[in-house]
Amino acid sequence: DQQVKQNSPSLSVQEGRISILNCDYTNSMFDYFLWYKKYPAEGPTFLISISSIKDKNEDGRFTVFLNKSAKHLSLHIVPSQPGDSAVYFCAARAPMYSGGGADGLTFGKGTHLIIQP
């Protein structure tokens, strides 16, 4: 049972445009959400996060939106740049020792973002 779902395996966006990556979750105990970026042959790199008490967090070109009622979050990248081409993972965590799931991060399967020149 996938508790974090990224339903788009890949996404192609033109350079300069907005990239929107989506993520849905089913576990209502999750209270913290993160986006990681992964290049081939490297480990995931932390990008941006959001706590469930917020609905938006912005860092430069990256903005994460959280809709708790819909159990949905999205990552917006604007403007998209060639270096943004990578696999993006959505991850979530329940409060420690809450019984809401393993205390590690729960990841989606990832979305491969391709920025076209």
Partner: protein, 114 residues
């Protein structure tokens, strides 16, 4: 400062053999996590340590998998009687403490069981 390091970067072994994968976390990070990533999947949680003790090992798939962190720094993931299905990328991550949600990942060890 140095990030999380993992050795070896690649490990090829034969079915039935024993392997050890090493993780060196960021200095000062007390929490350490192991994940496994199969092709086309996201990382899956295996086990984490706070200091020397395994705080949660609920993700370990079976008793052939074991991990230690004897001095609260370096950790070793041990796999006995390896099977072809164990082939995957094994990722290690560390965070300042368990309360810190941001985890920093190493480059991983690619394990191939023939």
């Amino acid at each position: 400062g140095a990030g999380v390091s993992q050795t070896p970067s690649n490990k090829v072994t034969e079915k039935g053999k024993y392997v050890e994968l090493r993780c060196d976390p960021i200095s000062g990070h007390t929490a350490l996590y192991w994940y496994r990533q199969s092709l086309g999947q996201g990382p899956e949680f295996l086990i984490y340590f706070q200091g020397t003790g395994a705080a949660d090992d609920s993700g370990l798939p079976n008793d052939r998998f074991f991990a230690v962190r004897p001095e609260g720094s370096v950790s070793t993931l041990k796999i006995q009687r390896t099977e072809r299905g164990d082939s995957a990328m094994y990722l290690c991550a560390s965070s300042l403490s368990l309360a810190d949600n941001e985890q920093f990942f190493g480059p991983g060890t690619r394990l191939t069981v023939l």
